[in-house]
């Protein structure tokens, strides 16, 4: 089967890939717009830790969302197969 004929079968997975990528870029834009702009005063070290902490939380949330959606899409397969039975 040719690559172009296979692609329509993969729409859902490609959609998930695109969503994962888009949310990651969105989080980076958010970090750039909000977190990077936080002034370092009055406690530069504390603020730096806070910035890294919030950024890591956002990246962690992204990873969890990715995990959840992958699980959800894959689970829907099981449900549809059980319904068939």
């Amino acid at each position: 089967m040719r690559y172009l004929r296979l692609t329509p079968r993969l729409v859902k997975i490609i959609g998930l890939e695109t969503f994962v990528f888009a949310t990651f870029i969105g989080i980076c834009a958010l970090i750039n717009a909000v977190i990077v702009g936080i002034p370092p005063e009055p406690n530069p070290i504390g603020i730096a830790f806070l910035k890294v902490g919030i950024s890591l939380l956002l990246v962690g949330a992204w990873l969890f969302l990715w995990f959840y959606l992958t699980k959800r899409i894959m689970k829907s397969k099981e449900v549809s197969e059980e319904n068939k039975k």
């Binding site: 089967m1 690559y3 296979l6 692609t7 079968r9 993969l10 859902k12 997975i13 490609i14 998930l16 890939e17 695109t18 994962v20 990528f21 990651f24 870029i25 980076c28 834009a29 970090i31 750039n32 990077v36 890294v52 950024s55 890591l56 990715w66 995990f67 992958t70 699980k71 899409i73 894959m74 689970k75 397969k77 099981e78 197969e81 059980e82 068939k84 039975k85």
Partner: protein, 342 residues
């Protein structure tokens, strides 16, 4: 960084030497393994052929020999050390794979041991704890980076291992990832040919050896990579990400691999070896791959691909390639977004 030999020559050597070594070495390996009776049955074929196992040994040896050759011909001691560290890192992963191929490590022990593969990089300080993020540019993580670094090696290794299930799937998908990372490196760092960039060297070594390996591993496979091969290749991807400051780009390029791992881990609720899981696929009467529909079976990327109907093995591999190609394009877009601010 000054070297006695022109960088372009080093790049050519990095690509051609592992390619030739693997291309020449694999037929001997196949013959040796068949004589010793070390083979796996290719269950996705009607004839159920016996295919030589552990082709990854030749991949690993090609990388080691090429690294040694580079260490000999490059005069700069700093570059030599970096090449050596790359080689040691993936050799550790390869040895863990070899032990697993022979003695079958548990699903918990294997990833734990893979965490050790990052020790040479941490000990030698061959990393910059400043990963690049799109829009943000360079970030500074220091302590957190060292904590996360072992996972940057162990996660790709396991992810590649989990997707190495069909003829040629591991080789083609990782070649696509490497091409994406190659272009991303070019975009982010804009290095010309006048100075040696070791990230290109490592990418060329991997592409060279994987192209030669693919020739023997493509449908119908004459050799399987085994855990030796998949863990070696996965660790190399991780090492390239860390040593080339391409962590984020690598994660994006490897989305299908990570998605597959997420699915398996979430569905079996933990880490299990392939042989301990219920088979998620079976063969149809016309030798296509279809889902077993067993609720106890792990949910895999392949399961999603064949959701709309049974597919031939070659088409499943093509589907994995389509998904990896798209994630590769996303990785290149990520590089462009990083470049805007760097």
């Amino acid at each position: 960084m000054a070297t006695a030999i022109a960088p372009i020559v080093i790049y050519v050597i990095s690509l051609l030497v592992p390619l030739i070594l693997t291309f020449v070495g694999i037929p001997f390996h196949i013959k040796y393994m068949q004589q010793r009776g070390i083979f796996g049955v290719d269950i996705h074929k009607k004839e159920q052929p016996k295919v030589a196992e552990m082709g990854g040994i030749i991949v690993l040896l090609s990388i080691i020999l090429t690294s040694l050759l580079l260490i000999i011909i490059i005069k700069d001691s700093d570059i030599r050390l970096t090449v050596g560290i790359f080689c040691i890192t993936i050799t550790i992963a390869g040895i863990i794979g070899l032990v697993d191929d022979f003695f079958r490590l548990s699903a918990i022990i294997k990833p734990l041991l893979l965490l050790l593969a990052s020790i040479p990089i941490i000990a030698s300080g061959r990393y910059i704890p400043e990963p690049f993020l799109p829009f943000v540019g360079k970030t500074r993580l220091t302590i957190i980076y060292i904590v996360l670094l072992p996972f940057v090696i162990a996660v790709p290794s396991n992810s590649v291992n989990m997707l190495d299930v069909f003829n040629g799937s591991m080789a083609t998908a990782t070649i696509l990832v490497l091409f994406a990372v190659f272009f991303a490196n070019m975009i982010i760092f804009r290095n010309g040919y006048s100075e040696l960039d070791l990230t290109y060297v490592f990418i060329f070594i991997m592409i060279g050896t994987l192209i030669a390996f693919w020739i023997f591993n493509r449908y119908p496979a004459r050799v399987f990579a085994g855990d030796t091969g998949s863990l070696t290749v996965g660790a190399a991807l991780g090492a390239i990400a860390v040593m080339g400051q391409l962590e984020v780009v690598m994660i994006i390029a490897m989305i299908p691999f990570i998605m597959n791992s997420f699915g398996i881990i979430s569905s079996v609720k933990g880490l299990l070896e392939r042989r301990e899981m219920v088979r998620p696929t079976r063969m149809t009467s016309d030798w296509k791959i279809e889902s077993t529909g067993d609720p106890k079976a792990p949910i895999t990327l392949v399961g999603l691909i064949i959701k709309k109907g049974a597919l031939h093995e070659k088409d499943v591999v093509k589907s994995i390639n389509i998904l990896t190609f798209i994630s590769g394009v996303f990785a290149i877009i990520t590089a462009v977004l990083i470049r805007i601010v760097v």
